[in-house]
């Protein structure tokens, strides 16, 4: 089943972000959304994740307890080690399934090349490594939908290329529905199967292309 957004309405005060906005997103594909800063890309992700509520319209096909989100910044608990950070989001889910959460955490850390820093605190890692932890957390969490809000925007070019490669490698092994927003055309082109270009507020789809 696809994600179906129907007649979405959202405003902050006088600023109308979405007005009668509709969209259908394919499952198990990476949909890239391009658009100018402040055009409502992050608002769409927050509405899809339940962090924000629409003023009208519906979003169907999303299970709110099955969402991963890679934010612009890693959002790691500074007082917990990297392994504890992953355990923080994963433990309840893993216990429900089989309880073997530590092995899965170690395997994921290995996959993102961070197997040696599991006992480090976030402050002891570089920005790129922290963002890799955020990617690991998103894939470790058993979700159907992965939301990504410009997760590579604060990184230098070399690191960005490395992380995007890591991301695609992991996604190939675990194909989830991904909504990836960015204002960077190159990032969107490299990762997405389908690209949507948003207008300024209120949001309209200016262009829709399949890669």
């Amino acid at each position: 089943m696809s994600i179906i957004i129907k007649n979405l309405r959202k405003a902050y005060g006088d600023q109308i972000i979405f007005d009668d906005f509709s969209l259908i997103l394919e499952k198990n594909k990476i949909t890239g959304i391009l658009g100018p800063s402040g055009s409502g890309k992050t608002t769409l992700l927050n509405l899809c994740s339940g962090l924000d509520q629409p003023d009208g319209g519906t979003i169907e096909g999303i299970n709110l307890s099955s969402i991963s989100y890679i934010f612009q910044e890693p959002r790691l608990l500074p007082w917990r080690t990297i392994r504890e950070n992953l355990r923080f989001v994963f433990k309840d889910q893993a216990v429900k399934r089989n309880g073997a959460h530590d092995q899965e955490i170690d395997a994921m850390l290995k996959l993102v090349g961070l197997e040696t820093v599991g006992d480090y605190y976030p402050q002891e890692l570089s920005g790129g490594m922290r963002q890799r932890v955020a990617i690991a957390r998103a894939f470790l969490y058993p979700s159907e939908l992965l939301l990504m809000d410009e997760p590579f925007s604060s990184l230098d070019l070399a690191l960005k290329n490395k992380l995007m490669g890591d991301f695609l490698n992991i996604w190939e092994k675990d194909k989830r529905t991904v909504i990836f927003v960015s204002h960077n055309q190159d990032e969107i082109n490299r990762l997405s199967h389908e690209i949507l270009t948003f207008s300024d507020k209120p949001v309209r789809i200016l262009r829709r292309e399949t890669i």
Binding site: L51, Y69, F71, E73, P78, R80, F88, K91, Y121
Partner: protein
């Protein structure tokens, strides 16, 4: 040469200690000169008279009993107020109706003059317990307010992350709210210790609580024994200083690396 035997860090530490001793000696000298100028130990005893007074007090077992009982009152009052302040402050920070319910009570206690509280409480309960209850009533609002502030200052972005990943509420409290509140609770504890001493000794005097440091101070005053009044005051200052330093040392020792980083940010 000293510099060849000691490292730069040790020289720096020695300089800091030397500076502190120098400052202390300056004030002691000023006190001694003022006492010599006044020339009456009844009005202003000299540092030597004060030290002699402490030596006299230390020879009596009652001195240690008084200090022990006062310490128990300070610790009891501070411990109960900080423990309850943290617990109720966490609930108040997380639950708006509970905050609205508690806030008038806390605001009223905060605005009450300490002396009124002591006299009122003394009407209702035994003298020996009055200092403990008063210490609680004075220190609890400080902790409560700090902890509520800490909860409200918790990083919204971390809470959003936990919400998206469907983390259980109890784990959010344990792993996000409590570490966020920790620096606020530590600051409240240090304030409570400082306040606790002053309030406890004041309450001991006004409530005639025995045995106590406060009542010994009072007796020194009514018997015009100014040497002992100074000696007891010196003992209170030293006890307060030592407890503050020991508490700080214990907090530093128990701090985890990550919590350090958090407090720095």
């Amino acid at each position: 040469m000293i510099s060849t035997k000691l490292g730069n860090k040790q020289i720096k530490t020695l300089k800091i200690i030397g500076k502190k001793i120098g400052v202390a000696l300056f004030w002691l000298l000023l006190w001694a000169m003022a006492a010599w100028w006044v020339d009456s130990s009844l009005v202003l005893p000299s540092p030597i008279d004060t030290l002699k007074g402490i030596a006299t007090l230390a020879g009596d077992a009652e001195f240690f009993v008084s200090i022990g009982v006062t310490l128990l009152r300070v610790f009891g009052g501070v411990f109960i107020s900080v423990a309850l302040g943290i617990f109720l402050g966490l609930i108040g920070g997380l639950n708006a109706p509970f905050y609205e319910f508690m806030n008038p009570f806390v605001s009223i206690i905060k605005s009450l003059p300490v002396v009124s509280v002591i006299i009122l409480i003394n009407l209702w309960i035994a003298s020996g317990i009055v200092p403990l209850v008063v210490t609680f009533l004075i220190c609890f609002p400080v902790t409560w307010t700090n902890v509520v502030q800490g909860v409200h200052a918790t990083d919204e972005k971390l809470l959003q992350m936990a919400k998206v990943y469907n983390v259980a509420k109890m784990r959010i409290v344990k792993d996000i709210y409590i570490p966020s509140v920790k620096p606020y609770a530590v600051s409240a504890l240090m304030n409570a210790i400082g306040l606790g001493w002053k309030v406890t000794v004041t309450a001991e005097v006004l409530a005639n609580a025995l045995p106590s440091v406060g009542m010994n101070l009072y007796y020194s005053k009514i018997y015009l024994d100014t040497d002992l009044l100074f000696s007891w005051t010196f003992v209170i200052v030293m006890c307060s200083y030592i407890i503050e330093k020991v508490t700080l040392f214990m907090i530093e020792r128990n701090k985890r690396k990550g919590a350090d980083q958090c407090q720095l940010s």
